[in-house]
Amino acid sequence: MTETSTKRRRGWRLVALLAVLSLIVAACGGDSGEEAEATTTTAAAGETTTTEAASEETTTTEATTDGEGPSGTLTIGWNWDPGTMDPQMHRQRYTQIISHAMRDKLYYQEPPGLGLIPLLAESVTQVDDTNYDVKIKEGILFHNGDELTAEDVVYTFERLWDPATESPRASMGNMSEIAGVEQIDTYTVRWTTSIPFGPPDQAILGFHFSGQEILHKATYESLSLEEAASQPVVGVGPFKFVEWIPDQRVVMEANLDYWQGAPGVEQIVWRTIPEEATRVAELLAGSVDMIHPVSPDFVAQLEDAGMKLEIVPGTAMRMLMMNVRDGSPFADVEVRRAMNMGINKAAIVDSIYSGLAIAQGNVSGSGQEGHNEDYNPYPYDPDAAAAILSQVTEPIELFVQEQWQLAAEAIAEELRGYGMDVTAVVLDNATHTQINEEGTFDLMFGGAGYGSGDFSGAYYNNRFECARLETNRVRTGICDEALDTLMNEGVRGEADPATRAANLEEVIRLLTEEHVPWVPMFVEAEVWAMAPHVEGFRGSAAGQMFDLWKVTVGN
């Protein structure tokens, strides 16, 4: 061993030692940045004297206090990264939440319900069976100061449907039946459809106005698709884009010129935190102000820690799907009816969901079009159920995703009590989806979303309408052409609201009592947890986070 090599080796050791020491020293030092930010936030919040502007009664009241601008930072910890900044290149709710905070739409679902109200639209007028004029509000400015015109609206939808865009959102609602859009004047756009879309309040569902944020034509015309995915956003919304660090955070700042009034907070930071226990810890540690989603497991802990909860009934029906086709243990409708009587939904809601769910009695979910909370033809009757279910003895696998395993285990246990041989089998999401669509199951714990609120649209089409079988979405296998006719002619094609409602009620009754493909179980709540200083937040049944401009962060 030479002296030179010994020295060189010592040198390397010294470098390694210094590296470790520098990291330790850096880590142990106080994070002045965090402290500085916390101080700033507190000081700014301290100046805020009132939160009256975060009024829930009116959508036009300013969120900020008189004479004071927005104050503080709202940090939201949630499960997701938006994936793209292009509002037309995704299918995710969370991407839309981010997009909507920076870009308004023609219509939106005002929290907490599902009903559509105009946002950028002033009115919709039906010209004839297949033409509708949409008038937009005047004097609304984009982030860059340009005024919103019909040209921007036309461009938004033409870009969406352009085959070159390859947008996965292009056929949402009933947009595949739209022949085109054209500008009539500076503030009016005409929609032309290839089939009648019904009266305006029904047509706007088909147009899917609540799902499409309006783009600034001049900006997006100059961007390639790759650029639009990551470029700063120009929109008509309460917040302006600041930065997006994928899988870490999205930052946006208040648009002081927002047409409904300046937002209540200076800045929103959306932090991607995939693990729920970590999100909860972040909220408890005070490093985020709000978290979403929150499962029932953490609700008590958060309440005990003094956190506020926003709980809104969601828009996803959870149900037991029974294969109605020949060869299935559930081919006999009497067995399916007995299944509906034999499960104690209230006990599951109370014990597993801590009351954060609503037991369902029929195939339409709480808050959905045509839903009647009192309509429950199958009250819990274990004795009546046992008489029939005890005859079903073959082994049955109850497929379920991990999130609902506890509920499925409880159901399986109750069914075993009747003499059935039911075993819950947990599948990953993708496998569950495939088996569901192929209809290769006897019994499955599944879900059916109705974020748009309508029963007669995609909800019916994707689960009950015979036409779905042509595109391999078998599910329970139910198919009744007479029922489809009633839906098509008596509901979708019916202009008279009273007749339409009566026919829809009949469709729901026939499904619930005659076909019985499901045991409707419950609709879970959408839950947000937030620090006590967060004021003015209203969660949406569809899990959306609209009206964030009304939120303030107090002391």
Binding site: M89, H90, G206, H208, R249, V251, A281, T431, A458
Partner: protein, 342 residues
């Protein structure tokens, strides 16, 4: 040595080709596809048609051999395709963003592991069969046995919630940014002289690196202790003692002789470090390769899963190769043979 390395690189190509076949076809055989998951129970009145149209756009309707050949063509040019789920973002860009963060986390975890393992192993070996030895062995056993997921959550609860001295998760405080040079946040902060950001990144690294490091440290302790004990009982150590050498010098000689085996183990554990990041990064919301892989698997984002798995495979193979080479370099008694024996 050069011939040996070339031979190993040739073998690496065959292994990588095998991995591409396995990962490509396993993903396709697994139930569920990205378009199905993306569209879900969507709001489209003609959902089936919409999905079929989108599958055509992505080329997922093509026969599997055609898709595989296209995938091979892409990776030979260093292009892993575009993400299906994340608005068509190139997979290479996603990896470029995530890989440096994972490498930095793994390096810090490795340093922590060595910082724990070396003194504990020395103490255990020198004071064999004493309470120090048993304590060290017990610590190693506990370290190996603790699930890192649980350990991570516990560390968060103690050091970020109950005694809030460290941040819970993330890479850096959300009010700070680091100018990108290498993509490794701490390194970039130091290189740009942004000491405030460096402190913040270091604070965010502590808990995930300790969680990852302690699990690996436990394995190092066991290996290094065994090596040291083996060396301790060799004749030359007795000879050193007989010549009256100081205990410190003897320990240095023992370490020098035990080092080659430990270096190989460290190299071989690179794979464990990388796989450990999959869980750790999810718990600590650390946006590295593990986090990327988990999200991509859940969304069946085929191009991303393929790209990440192929790259991680290459990294593990190369780290093993480097470990072998270093072993030969550290221990002159070992002659690497091109006939496959060492």
């Amino acid at each position: 040595m050069a011939k040996y390395i070339v031979q190993r690189l040739g073998q690496t190509l065959i292994v990588v080709l095998g991995v591409t076949v396995i990962v490509f076809f396993i993903l396709r055989v697994m139930p569920g596809d990205p378009v199905q998951l993306m569209f879900g129970d969507g709001d489209d009145a003609n959902l089936g048609e919409a999905r079929e149209r989108y599958e055509q756009l992505l080329g997922l309707d093509q026969p599997l051999p055609v898709q595989y050949v296209r995938f091979l063509g892409e990776i030979t040019t260093g292009d892993f395709g575009n993400s299906i789920v994340r608005g068509g973002e190139p997979v290479s860009a996603m990896i470029e963003r995530a890989l440096p963060l994972t490498i930095e986390l793994a390096i810090v975890a490795l340093l922590i592991a060595l910082a724990i393992a070396i003194p504990v192993a020395i103490l255990s070996a020198l004071k064999q069969n004493t309470i120090w030895d048993r304590g060290g062995t017990a610590i190693a056993l506990v370290g190996v046995s603790l699930p890192s997921f649980w350990q991570g959550i516990m560390l968060i609860l103690f050091f970020a919630v109950y005694i809030p001295i460290l941040p819970v998760s993330g890479v850096i405080d959300s009010s700070m940014s680091v100018e990108r040079i290498t993509g490794m946040a701490f390194t970039d902060a130091v290189l740009t002289g942004n000491w405030e950001a460096a402190r913040s990144v270091a604070r965010h690294l502590v808990l995930p690196a300790i969680t990852l490091g302690t699990a690996v440290a436990a394995q190092f302790v066991r290996v290094l202790r065994s090596s040291l004990l083996e060396v301790k009982h060799q004749d030359f150590i007795d000879a050193f003692r007989a010549r009256g050498l100081r205990e410190r010098t003897i320990v240095r000689h023992m370490l020098h002789n035990a080092l080659p085996t430990t270096a190989v183990i460290v190299g071989l554990r690179i794979g464990a470090l990388l796989s450990g990041t999959i869980v750790i990064e999810t718990v600590f919301a650390y946006p590295g390769m593990g986090n990327l892989l988990i999200q991509a698997i859940n969304a069946r984002d085929f191009p991303v899963v393929q790209g990440v798995v192929v790259l991680l495979t290459v990294m593990v193979i190369f780290s093993n190769l480097v470990a072998d080479v270093i072993h030969g370099w550290l221990d002159p008694r070992i002659k690497i043979s091109t006939k496959g024996t060492a």
